[in-house]
Symmetry: C2
Subunit: 531 residues, 2 copies
């Protein structure tokens, strides 16, 4: 039996960084801030938490699906954003739902929505709780006036049908990444959608938030893998037709993809799958600096080679993750195919990199994606989310934000966003911080830059200090033409900037769509729009 | 100075099939129906048409943009569908708009919408008039009660900005295909979106109808090339942000793409472009029959090779177009790249074809896309639209319909749709007809089949006979799980089947969106939804 998810921190109870990983992390932090002691605080234990009495009680027929136990309410109060971690550290669980429901079927979901409608309770759809944007946090005036039911889809994780000819499967929305892949493996198929949260996120969550996955080019978002989708709304079920392509009006699935739980609860989807890769080539390429790497990246992205991985780390990011020595920007490059050798594509990509001054490390190693700089970065990438439950207690402010921008604007964009964040860290904390950049996904017309920032804050001021940095960076990012999120979603935390980015008339249509499907405004209030 | 567009038939005045092409066409028809004489009727001349007096008069300030002249009204009454041709043959121009307006700027478009709103006139957005689904035909109860203004974007065809780094351009929606490419060529860039209607369709029309283009795989629809789009609605302008990718809520551009003029008038878009191809490989491959070709096509589509062209013609279609001798199904296969040689990809695709019994013609010819079976088919494809102005006068009923279906269902789908159409032709005309199939676009999870049907009808009954076939084929297609259109759009003619295909709750959101943007219901009434 797998351990249950932690109510605070990443992953399951008992998991975390090992001693070596912790020491590597702390060494980097000591060096970054030139300190050797920290003001360390610890979060309260679960048993020490005090939650307000639940304001809702499910009807007898739904009671077996529901819990108001302390663990369930605490473990569903927050996602995995920085403010969430601070709330957890402080033992502030004011956002906890009144009831957590675990439906086993779509009929259960519909019955729960009916009950919530009758009780005028807010409903928060919940996958695995790894939102980093306040997407599942029932906090805010609208919800606080009434009860909150969080509907956790975790019991609905089956692969229901596999179509080998079309390479597609019908999958329940509550499937976690590993369980989904394990069920596809006997069929020789794979979704190959590996967001950083892969182990602690679900298919429904990926679709609702337009998750970004494994593939750095071509199939960047989950969007492209959705063949059809089914969503239960307060007005009934909406199911799109299973089609490889269509031109019949505005694409109905595109209203569901990215709807972040405000229109309904995604219950299942037919997903496009891949053959398991049989051919691979991987390498990493060092460049003098980020901008040199980006010139090569642009050419690779516009070549039509479609590398599976094609991520650029600036020199600081390469150093922090152990992928480089801090003197070069690194491009991690990989091709894969279930059909044909990819050495020719790799050779051409490396030629392009060489033309911009890139020096390849180990271009011939077939397992380069598991070794060398690429492998070190990959390992750090997977283990990174476990760090915050340690660092927040040390009053470290660290967070990431990600965006996309067209090529012509990239350099100025990068510099203005980075300096806005750096200045804000200094202003907020009185001390120099660090802002690093990597590129997670890339398109022929532009990259998706992903920034990480580090500051040394003060306990008691962490939320305000974080907000100062978040606000300054986001303001700069929107002013310079970016999107407030390439794949983390909007949730509640990105609302001020999403509201500036999104066309007002599109917001009017989204509000109209919500009124049509959720006239009581039950679902995920405060996310994306105000009703 | 280019000639003006015909009011009846395809293309510009003075264009049409030459004597050889006409003879090839007639020989095929005589053979198909075992007849040597036809009951030939001719459409009335423009000067012979009688139109009702216009019910609208533009205000003085807009009068210079507007015309109610006979030519303008007649040339904007219909698209290029089969029923449109019959109406033209009969001289029935009841659908003619009252006023045709030719805005020169977005401000003109907004002013025209304001005037229409005040006059409560229906507004039909018009690109180049090649809709084959009744998308631009202001016919129907709602429009007949009031005046109709057709807004022809043809004066707004400029490429306004080119961004060489991001390979993107801002282009006015009224740009015709050839003029658009001509303006991009000096920059070494190309949109490479070549629908069959390329010469007589516009960027705005492509976006509004989710047009299908040149690329048989990967970039099948115009959708993927839209970086951002601007649309003028009765409530103001909606413009999406220029981004290579985003995950911020449901994609706003996807509401505009495929909206078929019911939400607003697309005025311009930033489009993703390509480098001009420098490397090509082309071939055609013969298979024992359609299903053998389809087995190979599935493997090619799932290989990740992404051929630029990968179209399958069944044996009858190959014969009719001169691409084959009628004994084999033909796959037309081509790769192209602006960056790297494509011979390796072609070799792998041909190996896959050989594994399913395919025999390649001229696999080594670099110009195979212009020669051999592929070239003959390509030429027939481009000239085909000119045939109908001849054949409709001979009481030939010929039309096409297109769809998409997942691989597992293809064979049964094909057989049930084809036999429904064949039976309906016999029932409607009392004589055996022909139904052929080709595959125009292909996805890893399924093909987009395109059917052509031929029957010999009787003057005076052509519309009813056509409708019998269209209805039977469409009923079968929807019952077997297909989409009513992969890239021709919905318009007014596909409404009954679109209404069955589209989720009801999605229709509710689309109606809600329309009420938010076009509360008077001015725009393109009868298309996609009833308000």
């Amino acid at each position: 039996m797998t351990a249950r998810l932690k109510h605070f921190g990443w992953g399951r109870e008992g998991e975390g960084l090992d001693a070596d990983e912790r020491e590597f992390l702390l060494a980097r932090i000591r060096e970054r801030f030139s300190v050797d002691r920290f003001d360390e605080k610890h979060p309260p234990l679960l048993a020490e938490l005090k939650l307000a009495a639940p304001r809702l009680q499910p009807p007898a027929v739904l009671a077996p699906l529901c819990s108001s136990a302390l663990y369930d309410r605490a473990a569903h109060a927050y996602g995995k954003s920085y403010p969430d971690a601070v709330h957890g550290l402080l033992g502030d669980y004011a956002a906890a739902p009144d009831v957590v429901a675990y439906p086993k079927s779509e009929a259960d979901v519909a019955a729960l929505l009916d009950w919530a409608g009758g009780a005028d309770a807010a409903v928060v759809p919940f996958g695995a709780g790894s939102s980093v944007v306040g997407g599942i946090e029932p906090r805010g005036a609208a919800e606080r006036k009434r009860g909150v039911v969080t509907i956790d889809l975790g019991q609905m994780g089956r692969v229901l049908e596999v179509d080998r000819a079309a390479r597609a499967a019908r999958i329940e929305a509550g499937a976690f990444g590993p369980a989904l892949e394990a069920q596809l493996k006997p069929h020789g198929l794979t979704l190959r959608h590996f967001p950083q949260s892969f182990e602690y996120s679900t298919l429904g969550g990926w679709i609702a938030t337009r998750s970004g996955g494994h593939f750095a080019s071509l199939y960047t978002h989950i969007d492209d893998f959705v063949e059809s989708v089914r969503m239960v709304t307060p007005k009934g079920a909406l199911e799109t037709r299973r089609l490889p392509g269509s031109g019949a009006g505005p694409a109905p699935e595109r209203l569901v993809i990215g709807s972040e739980g405000i229109l309904g609860i995604i219950t299942e989807a037919w997903m496009r799958l891949q053959d398991r890769p049989r051919f691979r080539a991987g390498s990493s390429v060092a460049f003098a600096d980020l901008f040199a790497a980006m010139r090569a990246l642009r050419l690779v992205a516009q070549s039509g080679l479609f590398p599976a991985n094609c991520r650029v780390l600036d020199s600081d990011e390469a150093y922090n993750t152990g992928a480089g020595d801090g003197r070069s920007a690194i491009m991690v490059l990989a091709f894969e195919s279930g059909d044909h050798p990819v050495d020719g594509a790799m050779k051409r990509a490396l030629d392009i990199c060489a033309s911009e001054g890139g020096k390849a490390e180990a271009p011939e190693a077939a397992d380069a994606h598991l070794a060398g700089a690429a492998g070190r970065w990959r390992n750090a990438f997977i283990r990174m989310p476990y760090a915050r439950e340690i660092t927040v207690g040390l009053a470290i402010i660290n967070d990431t934000f990600e965006t996309a921008i067209t090529w012509d604007r990239f350099e100025r964009f990068h510099d203005s966003v980075k300096s806005a964040a750096l200045e804000a860290i200094r202003r907020a904390t009185g001390r120099t911080g660090q802002v690093t950049c990597r590129i997670t996904h890339v398109y022929p017309d532009g990259p998706a830059p992903y920034f990480t920032f580090h500051g040394l804050g003060r306990h008691g001021e962490l939320l305000a200090q974080w907000h100062e940095v978040k606000k300054s960076a986001s303001d700069a990012l929107i002013a310079a033409g970016g999107t407030i999120t390439h794949h983390h979603a909007v949730g509640r935390q990105h609302r001020p900037w999403y509201d500036r980015e999104r066309p007002d008339l599109f917001a009017a249509t989204l509000r109209a769509a919500k009124r049509a499907l959720d006239p009581q405004g039950l679902l995920n209030p405060g996310v994306l729009i105000d009703p």
